[in-house]
């Protein structure tokens, strides 16, 4: 455990800040309550910086994952937090003080909201540090349990509660499924340590049917988190019912956790099967293939029919998961070279998707209608009409983000999607890549609509009001800027992602097996000898 502490430093820091936010949030002083968002952001920042300085874990299933994933999580997390913050609205607090408005928990004291968010991010980071099924199970739960609460309390409407109950109950069903899968994986190998499972699988030679079924149960259960077929049904309702900032978070945090979990789970069988020796075992690959195809297609075709922006984004989020599954199926690739590493492509895509997607949700979050007694989110697609002229910042955010999500060159989305294609081709998954291409074309129908509505159409009727929280628009603008500008540095990021996805070498595995021995005492020289070794570029 002691040797694992430095790796867990970001999580520990984050948890400390979580507690601080939790405690300060019940302060009687308004200013302290208002500061909680900044404190949370500060915590994320520090955790990200510390995470980027962390060395990869020797002998972990994916040794290089942490130095890439944790800063990336912190970066997207900061953006989402920015989108969420501002809920502590000064004006409302002032009105409550003067007695003009009733005290309203949801509008004033949102510190618990931030602490749930930090809990969830902590869980996400713990997912990246996972080397054990038990750990992974707990990390996944820590990621998703707070989101259930956040969805439920995100707005005061019954829609949020409906979203909460759907999300929670189906999530519990998913959790039970992957827990059963974990149990079977343990049962078929006798260990919960991912690397030890890998050794057991290698030693056994063939894939035990119980392992296959356990792995698939686990994958299907976890695919609830990434909103992949067949566990995707909740997505649209939940995204629609939750407040837009929370939906933005749902589109990144559980999804990233799910992908980390899927990748880590698949390292136990490894991409060393198939005729060429560079793909997943057929029993795992074929179901994943079907899932990927259905996920992309279902997400895209359903998004075509929606009239609510959030639902469009929800279905598109399903489709994006499908795209990423292509990279998962392709695996780390047989040949060196940036273009072949599907896992690296997935990690990079996650980051890119997180960055771009916040902007799209920020648009919804920044617009509201004040017709009713209570302002409501302007969620209808028609509200986007002519935004570029009436609400330029918000409108352009939408245009840029949706073009980037579409994968329009030279935006970030393009640079993120290309490696998925190349890795798929490199892994010989040509039909899958063709379907991916077709789906990208279908996606153009609704993404171009999202881009054209603000840009080309004229607003009919008064434009929607801007929400009082400037931070939401800032988050959107940053996201749009990322979507446009990060593409320039895409190569460096992609390279980092590829390094993060480097599979451990045999030597590292052996050191790990030694370390995982009965008394878990690893001598210092063993640990230092087995420094992280990655295959050369």
């Amino acid at each position: 455990m002691k040797e694992k502490l430095p790796i867990l430093l970001p999580e520990i820091i984050l948890f400390g800040f979580t507690c601080a936010v939790m405690v300060l949030g019940v302060s009687k002083t308004l200013r302290i309550r208002q500061a909680t968002a900044s404190i949370a952001g500060f915590g994320l920042l520090i955790a990200g910086i510390v995470g980027s300085m962390t060395q990869g874990e020797v002998g972990a299933p994916l040794p290089g994952l942490i130095p890439f994933a944790k800063p990336a999580i912190a970066a997207v997390g900061l953006l989402v937090l920015l989108l969420m913050s501002g809920s502590v609205d000064r004006a409302i607090e002032g009105r409550i003080k003067s007695g003009a408005e009733a005290f309203d928990a949801i509008k004033t004291n949102r510190a618990e909201f931030y602490s749930f968010f930090l809990f969830s991010i902590t869980g996400l980071m713990l997912c990246t540090s996972a080397d054990d099924l038990i750990w992974l199970f707990l990390a996944l739960e820590l990621t998703s349990l707070p989101t259930y609460v956040m969805v439920t309390i995100s707005t005061r409407g019954t829609a949020s509660q409906e979203a909460g109950v759907k999300y929670f109950f189906l999530g519990a069903l998913g959790a039970a499924i992957f827990l059963y899968g974990f149990a079977l994986i343990y049962g078929s190998t006798g260990s919960t340590d991912l690397v030890a499972i890998r050794s057991a699988v290698d030693a056994a030679g063939a894939i035990n049917p119980m392992l296959a079924i356990g792995l698939l149960l686990a994958l299907v259960g976890v695919s609830f988190k990434i909103a992949a077929v067949p566990m995707h049904f909740y997505t649209a309702d939940v995204y629609q019912g939750a407040a837009a900032p929370v939906s933005a978070m749902l589109a990144f945090v559980p999804k990233a956790a799910g992908f980390f979990a899927i990748i880590l789970l698949l390292t136990t069988v490894g991409w060393t099967h198939g005729p060429g020796g560079h793909s997943l075992p057929e029993a795992v690959r074929a179901p994943l293939w079907v899932m990927a195809v259905l996920t992309m297609t279902v997400g895209n075709v359903l998004a075509l029919l929606q009239s609510s922006t959030k639902r469009v984004l929800a279905y598109s989020s399903i489709a994006h998961s499908g795209y990423m599954l292509v990279g998962v199926i392709a695996g780390p690739g047989s040949r060196p070279g940036l273009a072949h590493n599907g896992i690296g492509a997935v990690l990079f895509y996650l980051l890119a998707y997180g960055l771009m997607n916040v902007g799209a949700f920020a648009v919804v979050a920044s617009l509201e209608r004040r017709d009713a007694a209570e302002p409501t989110e302007a969620d209808d697609l028609d509200e986007l009409r002519g935004l570029c002229s009436t609400r330029p910042l918000v409108g352009w955010t939408m245009v840029l983000c949706s073009l980037s999500l579409l994968g329009f060159p030279p935006a970030l989305g393009f640079f993120a999607k290309v490696p998925l294609f190349t890795s798929g081709i490199g892994a010989g998954e040509l039909p899958l890549v063709i379907i991916l291409g077709l789906n990208s074309a279908i996606a153009a129908f609704y993404y171009l609509r999202l881009a054209a509505l603000p840009l080309l159409e004229k607003a009919d009727g008064p434009p929607p009001n801007l929400s009082p929280f400037v931070t939401r628009r800032i988050a959107g603008a940053i996201s749009a800027a990322c979507a446009v500008l990060v593409g320039i540095g895409a190569n460096t990021l992609l390279k980092n992602a590829r390094q993060a996805a480097a599979m451990p070498t045999e030597a590292a595995n052996r050191a790990r097996a030694l370390a995982a021995g009965p008394d878990r005492q690893v001598s210092d020289d063993q640990a230092s000898r087995a420094s992280i070794q990655m295959s050369p570029d």
Binding site: E162, L173, Y180, S191
Partner: protein
């Protein structure tokens, strides 16, 4: 046989045959499936959640059986955590259910199906 003696002497029971394991696993799988069926058929939110608890329990039984089969304690350790998570989930779920009940005066899941498409 010396291994068996060794096991017994170090506090472990004798190894379990695959057949016995199959017995337990079948019971576990049946319990899991009962949970699934209950989740799909019962409309009462509390019962639905009870069914997910049953699925967790099925996983727990399988873990204990595997732990016995492999003669290591990992499975039992896992069950401790499973119970912990089950407790945490239950706390949240029950709080949610109470919230929902106050809203609609009903525990039926069908009350919450306004969003669709």
């Amino acid at each position: 046989m010396s291994e068996l003696v060794l096991l017994a002497q170090s506090g472990f029971p004798a190894p379990m045959g695959g057949l016995t394991l199959a017995h337990y696993l079948f019971v576990s799988a049946a319990m899991f499936v009962l949970g699934v069926i209950g989740f799909l058929t019962r409309r009462n939110l509390i019962i639905m959640f009870l069914c997910t608890e049953m699925m967790f329990q099925a996983a727990g039984l399988a873990l204990i059986a595997f732990s016995r089969f492999w003669l290591n304690q990992t499975g039992q350790t896992f069950v401790i955590f499973v119970i912990t998570i089950a407790a945490a989930e239950a706390a949240l779920a029950l709080a949610l259910v109470v919230l929902l009940f106050r809203k609609r005066e009903s525990l039926s899941a069908d009350e919450w199906s306004e969003m669709s498409g």
